[in-house]
Amino acid sequence: MEKEKREIVRLEKVVKTYHMGEHTVHALNGISISISEGEFVAIMGPSGSGKSTLLNMIGCLDVPTEGRVLIDGVSTAEMTEEELTRIRRDRIGFVFQSFNLIPTLSARENVELPMIFRKVGEKERKERAQKLLEKVGMGDKSDHRPSELSGGEQQRVAIARALANDPSIILADEPTGNLDTSSGNEIMNIMKELNRTGRTIIVVTHDPSVADFAERIIRIRDGKLDVS
Protein backbone atom coordinates (compact mmCIF):
# COMPACT_ATOMS: atom_id res chain seq x y z
CA MET A 1 0.00 0.00 0.00
CA GLU A 2 1.30 3.39 -0.90
CA LYS A 3 1.49 6.09 1.74
CA GLU A 4 2.21 9.78 1.75
CA LYS A 5 5.47 10.57 3.41
CA ARG A 6 4.32 13.77 5.11
CA GLU A 7 5.78 14.03 8.62
CA ILE A 8 3.05 14.42 11.24
CA VAL A 9 4.93 13.92 14.52
CA ARG A 10 8.56 14.78 15.16
CA LEU A 11 10.60 14.61 18.37
CA GLU A 12 13.94 16.40 18.50
CA LYS A 13 16.36 15.43 21.29
CA VAL A 14 13.51 15.35 23.78
CA VAL A 15 14.46 15.29 27.46
CA LYS A 16 11.93 15.00 30.27
CA THR A 17 13.17 15.28 33.80
CA TYR A 18 11.15 14.73 36.95
CA HIS A 19 12.32 15.95 40.31
CA MET A 20 11.48 13.66 43.17
CA GLY A 21 12.86 15.47 46.18
CA GLU A 22 16.61 14.87 45.99
CA HIS A 23 16.52 12.66 42.92
CA THR A 24 16.05 13.71 39.36
CA VAL A 25 14.55 11.09 37.06
CA HIS A 26 15.29 11.32 33.35
CA ALA A 27 12.11 9.75 32.01
CA LEU A 28 13.23 10.69 28.50
CA ASN A 29 16.86 11.29 27.77
CA GLY A 30 17.42 12.89 24.38
CA ILE A 31 15.09 10.98 22.11
CA SER A 32 14.51 11.84 18.44
CA ILE A 33 11.74 10.22 16.41
CA SER A 34 9.92 11.03 13.19
CA ILE A 35 6.50 9.59 12.36
CA SER A 36 4.78 10.06 9.01
CA GLU A 37 1.12 10.53 8.35
CA GLY A 38 -0.71 7.22 8.07
CA GLU A 39 1.93 5.16 9.85
CA PHE A 40 1.13 2.43 12.36
CA VAL A 41 3.86 2.54 15.01
CA ALA A 42 4.36 0.43 18.12
CA ILE A 43 6.48 1.71 20.97
CA MET A 44 8.01 -1.05 23.07
CA GLY A 45 10.34 -1.18 26.00
CA PRO A 46 10.65 -2.36 29.59
CA SER A 47 8.57 -0.91 32.39
CA GLY A 48 9.76 2.53 33.42
CA SER A 49 11.62 3.10 30.16
CA GLY A 50 9.55 6.23 29.40
CA LYS A 51 6.94 4.92 26.92
CA SER A 52 3.95 6.60 28.55
CA THR A 53 5.89 9.81 29.04
CA LEU A 54 6.71 9.78 25.33
CA LEU A 55 3.12 9.16 24.31
CA ASN A 56 1.79 11.92 26.62
CA MET A 57 4.29 14.27 25.09
CA ILE A 58 2.95 13.52 21.60
CA GLY A 59 -0.61 13.82 22.96
CA CYS A 60 0.03 17.39 24.14
CA LEU A 61 -0.65 16.42 27.74
CA ASP A 62 2.87 17.36 28.70
CA VAL A 63 5.71 19.44 27.27
CA PRO A 64 9.41 18.48 27.18
CA THR A 65 12.03 19.82 29.60
CA GLU A 66 14.48 20.11 26.71
CA GLY A 67 14.22 19.52 22.97
CA ARG A 68 11.07 19.90 20.89
CA VAL A 69 7.93 17.98 20.06
CA LEU A 70 6.38 19.07 16.76
CA ILE A 71 2.86 18.27 15.63
CA ASP A 72 2.39 19.15 11.96
CA GLY A 73 5.60 21.13 12.23
CA VAL A 74 4.53 23.24 15.20
CA SER A 75 6.38 22.96 18.49
CA THR A 76 4.09 22.13 21.43
CA ALA A 77 6.23 24.23 23.76
CA GLU A 78 5.30 27.32 21.79
CA MET A 79 1.56 26.66 21.86
CA THR A 80 -0.77 28.40 24.25
CA GLU A 81 -2.88 26.32 26.57
CA GLU A 82 -5.90 26.92 24.33
CA GLU A 83 -4.02 25.63 21.29
CA LEU A 84 -2.92 22.52 23.19
CA THR A 85 -6.51 21.93 24.26
CA ARG A 86 -7.72 22.33 20.70
CA ILE A 87 -5.15 19.84 19.37
CA ARG A 88 -6.08 17.27 22.03
CA ARG A 89 -9.71 17.77 21.17
CA ASP A 90 -9.61 17.82 17.36
CA ARG A 91 -6.40 16.20 16.18
CA ILE A 92 -5.71 13.45 18.70
CA GLY A 93 -7.71 10.50 20.00
CA PHE A 94 -6.58 8.90 23.25
CA VAL A 95 -7.13 5.26 24.22
CA PHE A 96 -5.98 4.26 27.70
CA GLN A 97 -5.08 0.96 29.33
CA SER A 98 -7.80 1.33 31.96
CA PHE A 99 -10.42 2.55 29.44
CA ASN A 100 -11.09 5.71 31.45
CA LEU A 101 -14.73 6.15 30.55
CA ILE A 102 -16.72 8.62 32.66
CA PRO A 103 -18.77 6.38 34.97
CA THR A 104 -21.84 8.64 35.22
CA LEU A 105 -22.32 8.79 31.46
CA SER A 106 -23.75 6.14 29.15
CA ALA A 107 -21.64 4.69 26.34
CA ARG A 108 -23.15 7.09 23.82
CA GLU A 109 -22.74 10.10 26.11
CA ASN A 110 -19.09 9.18 26.63
CA VAL A 111 -18.63 9.25 22.88
CA GLU A 112 -20.50 12.54 22.69
CA LEU A 113 -18.27 14.21 25.25
CA PRO A 114 -15.40 15.32 22.95
CA MET A 115 -18.03 16.66 20.54
CA ILE A 116 -19.67 18.57 23.40
CA PHE A 117 -16.30 20.16 24.08
CA ARG A 118 -16.14 21.06 20.39
CA LYS A 119 -19.70 22.49 20.60
CA VAL A 120 -21.18 20.18 17.98
CA GLY A 121 -24.98 20.48 17.85
CA GLU A 122 -26.98 17.94 19.83
CA LYS A 123 -28.62 16.14 16.93
CA GLU A 124 -25.46 15.74 14.89
CA ARG A 125 -23.58 14.70 17.99
CA LYS A 126 -26.00 11.96 18.95
CA GLU A 127 -26.17 10.57 15.43
CA ARG A 128 -22.42 10.53 15.04
CA ALA A 129 -21.92 8.92 18.46
CA GLN A 130 -24.38 6.19 17.56
CA LYS A 131 -22.68 5.62 14.21
CA LEU A 132 -19.26 5.37 15.83
CA LEU A 133 -20.55 2.89 18.41
CA GLU A 134 -21.98 0.79 15.58
CA LYS A 135 -18.62 0.94 13.84
CA VAL A 136 -16.90 -0.64 16.87
CA GLY A 137 -19.73 -3.14 17.29
CA MET A 138 -21.34 -1.45 20.28
CA GLY A 139 -24.43 -0.02 18.58
CA ASP A 140 -26.86 -2.06 20.66
CA LYS A 141 -25.32 -1.11 23.99
CA SER A 142 -25.18 2.64 23.57
CA ASP A 143 -27.39 3.30 26.60
CA HIS A 144 -25.33 1.16 28.95
CA ARG A 145 -23.20 2.69 31.67
CA PRO A 146 -19.49 1.67 31.71
CA SER A 147 -20.08 -0.44 34.84
CA GLU A 148 -22.52 -2.55 32.81
CA LEU A 149 -19.95 -3.33 30.11
CA SER A 150 -17.07 -5.85 29.93
CA GLY A 151 -13.48 -4.63 29.63
CA GLY A 152 -13.37 -5.31 25.91
CA GLU A 153 -16.66 -3.51 25.39
CA GLN A 154 -15.49 -0.54 27.42
CA GLN A 155 -12.33 -0.34 25.34
CA ARG A 156 -14.39 -0.32 22.14
CA VAL A 157 -16.47 2.54 23.52
CA ALA A 158 -13.20 4.29 24.37
CA ILE A 159 -12.07 3.88 20.76
CA ALA A 160 -15.37 5.28 19.51
CA ARG A 161 -14.82 8.22 21.86
CA ALA A 162 -11.27 8.70 20.55
CA LEU A 163 -12.75 8.92 17.04
CA ALA A 164 -15.49 11.41 17.98
CA ASN A 165 -13.89 14.52 16.51
CA ASP A 166 -12.34 12.60 13.58
CA PRO A 167 -8.70 12.98 14.71
CA SER A 168 -5.77 12.20 12.45
CA ILE A 169 -3.66 10.64 15.23
CA ILE A 170 -4.73 7.84 17.58
CA LEU A 171 -2.57 7.36 20.66
CA ALA A 172 -3.07 4.15 22.65
CA ASP A 173 -1.22 3.37 25.88
CA GLU A 174 -1.37 -0.40 26.45
CA PRO A 175 -4.89 -0.61 25.00
CA THR A 176 -4.96 -4.38 25.43
CA GLY A 177 -3.19 -4.43 28.79
CA ASN A 178 -6.36 -5.13 30.76
CA LEU A 179 -7.95 -7.46 28.20
CA ASP A 180 -7.79 -11.16 27.41
CA THR A 181 -6.14 -12.26 24.17
CA SER A 182 -9.25 -12.46 22.01
CA SER A 183 -10.70 -9.11 23.10
CA GLY A 184 -7.22 -7.66 22.69
CA ASN A 185 -7.09 -8.99 19.17
CA GLU A 186 -10.47 -7.49 18.33
CA ILE A 187 -9.31 -4.11 19.61
CA MET A 188 -6.14 -4.33 17.52
CA ASN A 189 -8.15 -5.30 14.46
CA ILE A 190 -10.22 -2.15 14.90
CA MET A 191 -6.96 -0.20 15.17
CA LYS A 192 -5.67 -1.79 12.00
CA GLU A 193 -8.89 -0.87 10.24
CA LEU A 194 -8.56 2.75 11.40
CA ASN A 195 -5.04 2.79 10.09
CA ARG A 196 -6.25 1.51 6.73
CA THR A 197 -8.57 4.52 6.48
CA GLY A 198 -5.59 6.84 6.79
CA ARG A 199 -5.18 7.52 10.47
CA THR A 200 -1.79 7.60 12.15
CA ILE A 201 -1.72 5.07 14.99
CA ILE A 202 0.83 5.03 17.79
CA VAL A 203 0.47 2.15 20.26
CA VAL A 204 2.52 1.59 23.40
CA THR A 205 2.72 -2.08 24.34
CA HIS A 206 4.66 -4.81 26.11
CA ASP A 207 3.07 -7.48 24.05
CA PRO A 208 4.97 -8.61 20.91
CA SER A 209 1.78 -10.02 19.35
CA VAL A 210 0.21 -6.54 19.65
CA ALA A 211 3.34 -4.98 18.18
CA ASP A 212 2.96 -7.35 15.21
CA PHE A 213 0.00 -5.26 14.03
CA ALA A 214 2.31 -2.29 13.56
CA GLU A 215 4.41 -1.65 10.51
CA ARG A 216 7.24 -0.14 12.54
CA ILE A 217 8.43 -0.81 16.09
CA ILE A 218 10.28 1.82 18.10
CA ARG A 219 12.13 0.34 21.06
CA ILE A 220 13.19 2.49 23.97
CA ARG A 221 15.24 1.79 27.07
CA ASP A 222 16.06 4.23 29.90
CA GLY A 223 14.50 7.09 27.98
CA LYS A 224 16.63 6.52 24.88
CA LEU A 225 16.10 4.80 21.56
CA ASP A 226 17.19 1.16 21.88
CA VAL A 227 19.14 0.39 18.72
CA SER A 228 20.67 -2.93 19.80
Binding site: N56, L61, N100, I102
Partner: protein
Protein backbone atom coordinates in the same frame (compact mmCIF):
# COMPACT_ATOMS: atom_id res chain seq x y z
CA UNK B 1 -25.62 18.73 28.86
CA UNK B 2 -23.16 20.15 31.41
CA UNK B 3 -26.13 20.63 33.70
CA UNK B 4 -27.07 16.98 33.21
CA UNK B 5 -23.49 15.90 33.96
CA UNK B 6 -23.53 18.04 37.11
CA UNK B 7 -26.86 16.57 38.18
CA UNK B 8 -25.61 13.00 37.78
CA UNK B 9 -22.46 13.75 39.71
CA UNK B 10 -24.56 15.04 42.58
CA UNK B 11 -26.68 11.92 42.46
CA UNK B 12 -23.54 9.82 42.68
CA UNK B 13 -23.01 11.13 46.21
CA UNK B 14 -26.67 11.35 47.08
CA UNK B 15 -26.42 11.52 50.86
CA UNK B 16 -23.71 14.13 50.74
CA UNK B 17 -25.64 16.30 48.30
CA UNK B 18 -28.83 15.99 50.33
CA UNK B 19 -27.02 17.13 53.47
CA UNK B 20 -25.54 20.11 51.67
CA UNK B 21 -29.01 21.02 50.39
CA UNK B 22 -30.44 20.69 53.90
CA UNK B 23 -27.76 23.08 55.13
CA UNK B 24 -28.74 25.54 52.41
CA UNK B 25 -32.44 25.18 53.27
CA UNK B 26 -31.77 25.94 56.92
CA UNK B 27 -29.60 28.94 56.09
CA UNK B 28 -32.03 30.49 53.63
CA UNK B 29 -34.98 29.70 55.87
CA UNK B 30 -33.32 31.36 58.85
CA UNK B 31 -32.65 34.55 56.92
CA UNK B 32 -36.03 34.79 55.23
CA UNK B 33 -38.07 33.78 58.27
CA UNK B 34 -36.34 36.35 60.43
CA UNK B 35 -36.80 38.94 57.69
CA UNK B 36 -40.51 38.16 57.62
CA UNK B 37 -40.68 38.33 61.41
CA UNK B 38 -38.82 41.64 61.50
CA UNK B 39 -41.28 43.08 59.05
CA UNK B 40 -44.23 41.81 61.08
CA UNK B 41 -42.73 43.35 64.20
CA UNK B 42 -42.41 46.69 62.43
CA UNK B 43 -45.91 46.61 61.06
CA UNK B 44 -47.46 45.67 64.37
CA UNK B 45 -45.54 48.44 66.14
CA UNK B 46 -46.69 50.99 63.58
CA UNK B 47 -50.20 49.76 64.14
CA UNK B 48 -49.93 50.34 67.88
CA UNK B 49 -48.91 53.94 67.29
CA UNK B 50 -51.66 53.98 64.75
CA UNK B 51 -50.62 57.41 63.61
CA UNK B 52 -51.88 58.95 60.47
CA UNK B 53 -48.92 60.03 58.40
CA UNK B 54 -50.57 63.34 57.51
CA UNK B 55 -50.80 64.42 61.15
CA UNK B 56 -48.78 67.45 62.32
CA UNK B 57 -48.65 68.51 65.96
CA UNK B 58 -47.83 72.13 66.80
CA UNK B 59 -46.53 72.70 70.35
CA UNK B 60 -45.60 75.89 72.10
CA UNK B 61 -41.83 76.22 72.19
CA UNK B 62 -41.17 75.61 75.89
CA UNK B 63 -37.44 76.33 75.58
CA UNK B 64 -38.27 79.81 74.34
CA UNK B 65 -40.59 80.51 77.26
CA UNK B 66 -43.92 79.76 75.59
CA UNK B 67 -46.24 77.47 77.50
CA UNK B 68 -49.31 77.85 75.33
CA UNK B 69 -50.45 78.98 71.91
CA UNK B 70 -52.53 82.14 71.85
CA UNK B 71 -55.78 82.37 69.84
CA UNK B 72 -54.24 84.80 67.41
CA UNK B 73 -51.47 82.35 66.47
CA UNK B 74 -53.99 79.53 66.32
CA UNK B 75 -56.10 81.52 63.90
CA UNK B 76 -53.10 82.19 61.68
CA UNK B 77 -52.30 78.48 61.60
CA UNK B 78 -55.87 77.54 60.77
CA UNK B 79 -55.76 79.72 57.68
CA UNK B 80 -52.72 78.05 56.15
CA UNK B 81 -53.61 76.44 52.80
CA UNK B 82 -53.23 72.68 52.47
CA UNK B 83 -54.65 71.95 55.92
CA UNK B 84 -57.59 69.59 55.82
CA UNK B 85 -58.40 69.44 59.51
CA UNK B 86 -57.52 71.78 62.32
CA UNK B 87 -58.00 70.84 65.97
CA UNK B 88 -56.95 73.19 68.73
CA UNK B 89 -56.55 71.44 72.06
CA UNK B 90 -56.69 72.87 75.57
CA UNK B 91 -55.79 70.60 78.43
CA UNK B 92 -55.33 70.64 82.16
CA UNK B 93 -54.82 67.92 84.76
CA UNK B 94 -57.26 68.20 87.60
CA UNK B 95 -59.38 66.27 90.08
CA UNK B 96 -62.54 64.91 88.59
CA UNK B 97 -65.27 63.90 91.02
CA UNK B 98 -66.78 60.61 89.99
CA UNK B 99 -69.35 58.96 92.27
CA UNK B 100 -68.07 61.00 95.23
CA UNK B 101 -64.46 59.99 94.55
CA UNK B 102 -61.80 62.46 93.49
CA UNK B 103 -59.86 61.06 90.54
CA UNK B 104 -56.78 62.74 89.07
CA UNK B 105 -57.05 62.92 85.30
CA UNK B 106 -56.69 65.05 82.20
CA UNK B 107 -59.45 67.40 81.10
CA UNK B 108 -59.34 68.26 77.40
CA UNK B 109 -61.16 71.15 75.81
CA UNK B 110 -61.74 70.29 72.17
CA UNK B 111 -64.67 71.37 70.08
CA UNK B 112 -64.64 68.73 67.42
CA UNK B 113 -62.58 65.76 68.64
CA UNK B 114 -63.86 63.30 66.01
CA UNK B 115 -60.47 63.11 64.27
CA UNK B 116 -58.60 62.24 67.44
CA UNK B 117 -60.91 59.81 69.22
CA UNK B 118 -63.54 57.21 68.44
CA UNK B 119 -66.78 56.85 70.29
CA UNK B 120 -67.78 53.53 71.77
CA UNK B 121 -71.21 54.46 73.17
CA UNK B 122 -73.31 57.61 73.08
CA UNK B 123 -72.50 60.57 70.85
CA UNK B 124 -69.51 62.78 70.12
CA UNK B 125 -71.52 66.01 70.12
CA UNK B 126 -70.46 68.35 72.90
CA UNK B 127 -72.43 71.20 74.47
CA UNK B 128 -71.90 73.35 77.54
CA UNK B 129 -73.19 70.77 79.99
CA UNK B 130 -71.85 67.43 78.87
CA UNK B 131 -68.58 65.57 78.43
CA UNK B 132 -66.99 62.47 76.89
CA UNK B 133 -65.42 59.99 79.28
CA UNK B 134 -62.23 58.08 78.55
CA UNK B 135 -62.43 54.32 78.27
CA UNK B 136 -60.32 53.46 81.32
CA UNK B 137 -62.02 56.02 83.52
CA UNK B 138 -65.45 54.83 82.42
CA UNK B 139 -64.61 51.21 82.99
CA UNK B 140 -63.02 51.77 86.40
CA UNK B 141 -65.88 53.82 87.80
CA UNK B 142 -68.72 52.19 85.90
CA UNK B 143 -69.63 55.33 84.00
CA UNK B 144 -72.43 55.06 81.49
CA UNK B 145 -74.08 57.45 79.10
CA UNK B 146 -76.09 59.69 81.35
CA UNK B 147 -73.83 59.36 84.43
CA UNK B 148 -72.94 62.54 86.25
CA UNK B 149 -69.47 63.80 87.14
CA UNK B 150 -68.23 67.10 88.42
CA UNK B 151 -65.15 69.29 88.33
CA UNK B 152 -64.66 72.03 90.90
CA UNK B 153 -68.38 71.88 91.67
CA UNK B 154 -69.30 72.19 88.00
CA UNK B 155 -71.58 69.30 87.06
CA UNK B 156 -71.34 67.53 83.69
CA UNK B 157 -73.40 64.78 82.10
CA UNK B 158 -71.50 61.95 80.38
CA UNK B 159 -72.92 61.89 76.86
CA UNK B 160 -70.41 59.49 75.32
CA UNK B 161 -67.89 56.83 76.26
CA UNK B 162 -64.72 56.81 74.16
CA UNK B 163 -62.92 53.83 72.71
CA UNK B 164 -59.56 53.12 74.25
CA UNK B 165 -56.90 55.11 72.38
CA UNK B 166 -53.69 53.75 73.89
CA UNK B 167 -50.28 55.33 73.46
CA UNK B 168 -50.40 58.40 71.30
CA UNK B 169 -48.61 61.62 70.59
CA UNK B 170 -51.57 63.95 70.55
CA UNK B 171 -54.17 63.36 73.24
CA UNK B 172 -54.50 60.54 75.79
CA UNK B 173 -58.05 60.80 77.10
CA UNK B 174 -58.32 57.21 78.36
CA UNK B 175 -58.05 58.29 82.00
CA UNK B 176 -59.70 61.66 81.56
CA UNK B 177 -62.55 63.50 79.90
CA UNK B 178 -63.15 65.74 76.94
CA UNK B 179 -65.34 68.82 77.20
CA UNK B 180 -66.18 71.54 74.72
CA UNK B 181 -63.86 74.49 74.46
CA UNK B 182 -66.57 76.72 75.92
CA UNK B 183 -66.89 74.50 78.96
CA UNK B 184 -63.14 74.40 79.34
CA UNK B 185 -62.96 78.18 79.19
CA UNK B 186 -65.58 78.43 81.89
CA UNK B 187 -63.61 75.99 84.07
CA UNK B 188 -60.10 77.22 83.49
CA UNK B 189 -59.78 79.75 80.68
CA UNK B 190 -56.30 79.99 79.14
CA UNK B 191 -54.74 79.44 75.72
CA UNK B 192 -54.24 76.32 73.64
CA UNK B 193 -51.90 73.56 74.84
CA UNK B 194 -51.18 72.38 71.33
CA UNK B 195 -52.74 72.20 67.92
CA UNK B 196 -53.23 69.16 65.74
CA UNK B 197 -53.53 69.68 62.00
CA UNK B 198 -53.90 67.20 59.16
CA UNK B 199 -52.41 67.89 55.77
CA UNK B 200 -54.48 66.92 52.77
CA UNK B 201 -51.90 64.32 51.71
CA UNK B 202 -48.65 62.77 52.90
CA UNK B 203 -46.77 64.69 50.23
CA UNK B 204 -48.37 67.92 51.44
CA UNK B 205 -47.07 67.50 55.00
CA UNK B 206 -43.76 69.15 54.40
CA UNK B 207 -45.32 72.15 52.73
CA UNK B 208 -47.83 72.69 55.52
CA UNK B 209 -45.20 72.42 58.23
CA UNK B 210 -42.93 74.84 56.39
CA UNK B 211 -45.81 77.26 56.07
CA UNK B 212 -46.58 77.07 59.77
CA UNK B 213 -42.94 77.69 60.51
CA UNK B 214 -42.70 80.71 58.25
CA UNK B 215 -46.01 82.23 59.37
CA UNK B 216 -45.70 81.69 63.12
CA UNK B 217 -41.99 81.56 63.78
CA UNK B 218 -41.10 84.60 61.74
CA UNK B 219 -39.84 86.55 64.73
CA UNK B 220 -38.35 83.87 66.96
CA UNK B 221 -39.42 80.36 67.70
CA UNK B 222 -42.95 80.44 69.06
CA UNK B 223 -43.96 76.90 68.20
CA UNK B 224 -42.30 73.57 67.57
CA UNK B 225 -43.68 71.57 64.69
CA UNK B 226 -43.70 67.84 64.84
CA UNK B 227 -44.57 65.67 61.87
CA UNK B 228 -46.00 62.25 62.56
CA UNK B 229 -44.49 61.21 59.26
CA UNK B 230 -40.98 61.76 60.62
CA UNK B 231 -41.76 59.65 63.60
CA UNK B 232 -43.25 56.87 61.51
CA UNK B 233 -40.19 57.01 59.30
CA UNK B 234 -37.85 56.74 62.24
CA UNK B 235 -39.74 53.74 63.61
CA UNK B 236 -39.53 52.28 60.17
CA UNK B 237 -35.81 52.87 60.01
CA UNK B 238 -35.15 51.53 63.47
CA UNK B 239 -36.99 48.32 62.73
CA UNK B 240 -35.30 47.95 59.39
CA UNK B 241 -31.96 48.07 61.19
CA UNK B 242 -33.10 45.59 63.84
CA UNK B 243 -34.40 43.33 61.13
CA UNK B 244 -31.16 43.52 59.19
CA UNK B 245 -29.15 42.81 62.29
CA UNK B 246 -31.21 39.71 63.04
CA UNK B 247 -30.89 38.61 59.44
CA UNK B 248 -27.14 39.02 59.64
CA UNK B 249 -27.08 36.72 62.64
CA UNK B 250 -29.19 34.23 60.72
CA UNK B 251 -26.67 34.67 57.92
CA UNK B 252 -24.16 32.75 60.01
CA UNK B 253 -26.16 29.59 59.36
CA UNK B 254 -25.99 30.32 55.64
CA UNK B 255 -22.26 30.76 55.99
CA UNK B 256 -22.07 27.30 57.55
CA UNK B 257 -24.07 25.95 54.61
CA UNK B 258 -21.62 27.64 52.27
CA UNK B 259 -18.70 26.02 54.04
CA UNK B 260 -20.37 22.64 53.69
CA UNK B 261 -20.76 23.17 49.95
CA UNK B 262 -17.13 24.22 49.79
CA UNK B 263 -16.22 21.08 51.67
CA UNK B 264 -18.14 18.59 49.55
CA UNK B 265 -17.05 20.26 46.34
CA UNK B 266 -13.41 20.10 47.40
CA UNK B 267 -13.87 16.45 48.29
CA UNK B 268 -15.36 15.65 44.95
CA UNK B 269 -12.66 17.60 43.14
CA UNK B 270 -10.08 15.38 44.80
CA UNK B 271 -12.08 12.19 44.24
CA UNK B 272 -12.59 13.03 40.61
CA UNK B 273 -9.05 14.13 39.84
CA UNK B 274 -8.62 11.22 37.42
CA UNK B 275 -11.89 12.10 35.68
CA UNK B 276 -10.75 15.69 35.28
CA UNK B 277 -7.54 14.38 33.70
CA UNK B 278 -9.52 12.22 31.27
CA UNK B 279 -11.75 15.10 30.27
CA UNK B 280 -8.75 17.32 29.70
CA UNK B 281 -7.05 14.58 27.65
CA UNK B 282 -10.07 14.31 25.35
CA UNK B 283 -10.29 18.04 24.83
CA UNK B 284 -11.99 19.79 27.75
CA UNK B 285 -10.73 23.31 28.35
CA UNK B 286 -10.20 24.98 31.68
CA UNK B 287 -13.47 26.87 31.42
CA UNK B 288 -15.44 23.72 30.63
CA UNK B 289 -14.14 21.95 33.73
CA UNK B 290 -14.90 25.10 35.72
CA UNK B 291 -18.43 25.17 34.34
CA UNK B 292 -19.14 21.54 35.23
CA UNK B 293 -17.98 21.93 38.81
CA UNK B 294 -19.54 25.32 39.35
CA UNK B 295 -22.85 24.03 38.05
CA UNK B 296 -22.82 21.38 40.74
CA UNK B 297 -22.48 24.01 43.45
CA UNK B 298 -25.13 26.15 41.78
CA UNK B 299 -27.49 23.21 41.51
CA UNK B 300 -27.11 22.56 45.24
CA UNK B 301 -27.61 26.27 45.88
CA UNK B 302 -30.68 26.63 43.68
CA UNK B 303 -32.41 23.58 45.10
CA UNK B 304 -31.63 24.48 48.70
CA UNK B 305 -32.44 28.16 48.30
CA UNK B 306 -35.78 27.67 46.61
CA UNK B 307 -36.92 25.03 49.08
CA UNK B 308 -35.64 27.19 51.94
CA UNK B 309 -37.42 30.23 50.53
CA UNK B 310 -40.72 28.42 50.28
CA UNK B 311 -40.36 26.88 53.73
CA UNK B 312 -39.54 30.26 55.24
CA UNK B 313 -43.21 31.21 54.88
CA UNK B 314 -43.91 28.47 57.40
CA UNK B 315 -40.92 29.62 59.47
CA UNK B 316 -42.08 33.23 59.50
CA UNK B 317 -45.59 32.09 60.38
CA UNK B 318 -44.28 30.04 63.30
CA UNK B 319 -42.10 32.83 64.73
CA UNK B 320 -44.93 35.36 64.36
CA UNK B 321 -47.37 33.06 66.09
CA UNK B 322 -44.97 32.42 68.96
CA UNK B 323 -43.78 35.99 69.54
CA UNK B 324 -46.52 38.24 68.17
CA UNK B 325 -49.35 35.75 68.65
CA UNK B 326 -50.69 36.71 65.24
CA UNK B 327 -49.81 35.81 61.69
CA UNK B 328 -51.67 38.59 59.99
CA UNK B 329 -48.46 40.23 58.76
CA UNK B 330 -47.03 37.05 57.19
CA UNK B 331 -49.10 37.20 54.04
CA UNK B 332 -48.09 40.66 52.90
CA UNK B 333 -46.17 41.58 49.76
CA UNK B 334 -43.01 42.41 51.74
CA UNK B 335 -42.78 38.72 52.64
CA UNK B 336 -41.92 37.92 49.05
CA UNK B 337 -39.17 40.48 49.16
CA UNK B 338 -37.61 38.70 52.14
CA UNK B 339 -37.99 35.33 50.46
CA UNK B 340 -36.34 36.68 47.34
CA UNK B 341 -33.59 38.16 49.48
CA UNK B 342 -32.99 34.83 51.24
CA UNK B 343 -32.89 32.98 47.93
CA UNK B 344 -30.56 35.59 46.51
CA UNK B 345 -28.14 35.28 49.42
CA UNK B 346 -28.36 31.50 49.15
CA UNK B 347 -27.39 31.57 45.50
CA UNK B 348 -24.54 33.97 46.09
CA UNK B 349 -23.24 31.76 48.90
CA UNK B 350 -23.41 28.67 46.69
CA UNK B 351 -21.59 30.33 43.81
CA UNK B 352 -18.91 31.79 46.06
CA UNK B 353 -18.40 28.44 47.79
CA UNK B 354 -18.29 26.58 44.50
CA UNK B 355 -15.87 28.94 42.85
CA UNK B 356 -12.71 27.87 44.62
CA UNK B 357 -13.13 24.09 44.17
CA UNK B 358 -14.15 24.61 40.54
CA UNK B 359 -11.17 26.84 39.95
CA UNK B 360 -8.94 24.28 41.58
CA UNK B 361 -10.35 21.50 39.42
CA UNK B 362 -9.94 23.51 36.23
CA UNK B 363 -6.32 24.26 37.04
CA UNK B 364 -5.18 20.68 37.44
CA UNK B 365 -2.42 19.73 35.03
CA UNK B 366 -3.88 17.09 32.72
CA UNK B 367 -0.90 14.80 33.05
CA UNK B 368 -0.90 14.89 36.86
CA UNK B 369 -4.63 14.41 37.00
CA UNK B 370 -4.43 11.46 34.65
CA UNK B 371 -1.73 9.71 36.66
CA UNK B 372 -3.77 10.11 39.85
CA UNK B 373 -5.26 6.89 41.17
Amino acid sequence: MYLEIARRNLKRQRMRSVLAIVGMIIGVMAISSIGIFGNSLKMSTLEVFGGVATEIIVYPSYQDGYSSIDPHTALKISKIPGIQDFIAVKSRTDYITVRKERVFGTVYGIDDPGQLVKISRGSLVLSSSNCLAGAVLAEKYGLRVGSKISINGYSLRVSGILKEKGRSFDINPDRGIIVSEQTFNRLYGGDYSFIVVYAGSVTGVKKVSDQIDSVVNRRGTVVKIWEMKDFLESINRAFTYISRFLMAIAGVSLLVAGVSILNIMLMSTIERTKEIGIMKAIGASRSEILTIFLLEAILLGVTGSILGGVLSIAGGYAIDMIILKSAKYVFVSKTFLYIAQGIGFGLITAVVSGLYPAWKASNLEPIDALRYE
